[in-house]
Symmetry: C2
Subunit: 328 residues, 2 copies
């Protein structure tokens, strides 16, 4: 299995600290704690093979939600992770530059397929790469690279057969930074995650948008029926619910601001993030991570950067109160 | 997308014949029409990333249900199809013999990855192959190859680095034919489908059992969180419900017998099948397929064997009555 460290593994937390009496407050991921309400699901969606016409409807809805052109090639997958696993097949053995530090699976998956992977601190250092990967806005620091700059890079890569991979896993909270309106442009491949913003990570739903050659290849590698019927139905409903999306953006913005204030008032230095998580720095981060864990609050450490912690959003008053009480 | 013909695509049927007033009676797949009742699903299963401890519980339950050794290497996937897509990565460029005629995706997926694929009529013809693939019991004719013979073949293949792939997609209705008790033996890789017997094809859940080298590789190719949280929970519940499984085997056997009787009484020659579908031969099969389609009953034709039709099970009295009325 994956050797990349991740948040969200409550069994591992329980093995370390035991199970908290009041249950876990899991702040170790960037998943919206106020999930989209699961709509009633037609029993046929569980029973039948996923239907091609419903999948097409999902893809139309996703393009529209993400602001992509109506004819942009797009493919749905059971989670973005499996697309990340497949991306190396698009450029076997490529020289890959990953703008770091970022989500660890990109480097791991390219390396596992024999690519020459370099993690770079700036796009200038990526000039010799055939494939450039960045998460935008970035996880964990929220860094956003300017769209014009990324489009120029995609054009440059396209001219020499390369590819720019932009993982927009958290772009719902910064919609103007998304390159989805440019989807279909040669050299540009965009990943979108359903589970984080909609708070439904268990459903496993993600999308890739790009040029026809890459999207067709990913679709063939995934095969028919890759996305479960219930995920198709929930995706159609949630991605077309603009009212919920707008309200959620406002709610997440307020909660992220409140979280940042709570943390900075307790001596953490804000190091960025998005409206789905905050990255903070504290000289005693390792000790605080353990104190939080003992109190049933799981946050994300970074083994190779031990003064950093990433906090997801508490879901409501109880969560904020618990966090404040433990941090003192 | 896939160019292999499949059953179960109601939109394609509707494009051809229009939508039937009384709704489709879809007999074009081998999916149990009396599905396992969806249990209540903990909202956390939708919200959180799939949890490793729940996945381990699913794998323990699956091994037990399938009669595999408690330490047999096993991996879960979002449907067996995606495992079929990945199998060629286990033996790149291999000479592959597929015991045909059978489920079309095996040959298509190996060929798409550059394997040299031959469809053979008997295992004797597979002697020179590095990989041998069969569906057991076979789709569509229900052919069952003797376990002793398959184990000898697996041993022979293992001795020269090869692999026997046994797709047991329909083995729940012929449990004694399953090689799952031998899972872990070198050279043997077994696929199991959740959706067909449990009537929940939309959920996408399948398993591979085999030797550690192959199973570990498949797990790495799928990456973390490949199986959705709700599928894990439903799988644990259904795979451990032996009472429902035993009753369902009896119900399916009775329904398959009744279907076979209905068809043979109307001039179809039985060509085999399993308790989840019957394969029949009729000189007027093409005309009858169209007559059934116009009446809203979808069955599976075989373009290259035009006198054959495959019928799935009607789900109840209404379905049997509709079928009998149309066939006259």
């Amino acid at each position: 299995m994956s050797m990349v460290p991740h948040g969200g593994d409550l069994a591992a937390a329980e093995a370390r600290w035991g199970g908290p009496a009041e249950g876990w407050l899991d702040l170790s991921t960037g998943i919206n704690p106020m999930p989209y309400p699961i709509p009633a699901i037609d029993p046929a969606a569980w029973h039948r093979l996923p239907q091609h016409d419903r999948l097409r409807e999902l893809l139309v809805t996703a393009r529209s939600c993400y602001g992509a052109p109506v004819d942009a090639p797009i493919v749905a997958a059971p989670g973005t992770q499996i697309l990340i696993q497949l991306l190396p097949r698009l450029r076997p053995g490529a020289r890959v530059a990953i703008l770091g530090p970022t989500y660890g699976e990109h480097a791991a998956c390219w390396a596992a397929e024999g690519a020459a992977v370099a993690t770079v601190d700036s796009l200038e250092e990526a000039a010799a790469a055939e494939v450039v990967v960045l998460v935008n806005p970035n996880n964990p620091d929220g860094r956003i690279v300017d769209s014009e700059r990324l489009l120029a890079l995609a054009d440059d890569l396209a001219a020499r057969g390369g590819l720019l991979v932009v993982d927009e896993a958290f772009a719902e909270v910064t919609p103007r930074a998304s390159l989805a309106p440019e989807a279909g442009r040669p050299g540009l491949l965009i990943l979108r995650s359903f589970g984080k913003f909609f708070g439904l990570a268990g459903i496993r739903l993600g999308f890739a948008l790009g040029a026809a050659a890459e999207i067709d290849r990913l679709a063939r590698l995934l095969g028919p029926w890759a996305v479960p019927g219930p995920a198709i139905e929930i995706g159609i409903t949630a991605l077309s619910d603009r009212g919920w999306q707008d309200e959620t953006r406002a709610r997440l913005s307020a909660a992220a601001g409140r979280l940042a204030d709570l943390l900075t008032a307790r001596g953490f230095a804000d190091r960025g993030g998005t409206d789905l998580f905050r990255l903070v720095d504290h000289p005693e981060a390792a000790r605080l991570w353990d104190r939080l864990g003992r109190a049933g609050i799981l946050v994300r450490p970074f083994p190779d950067r031990p003064t950093l912690l990433r906090f997801g959003l508490p879901g409501g008053e109880d969560g904020f109160a618990r966090l404040a009480a433990v941090l003192g």
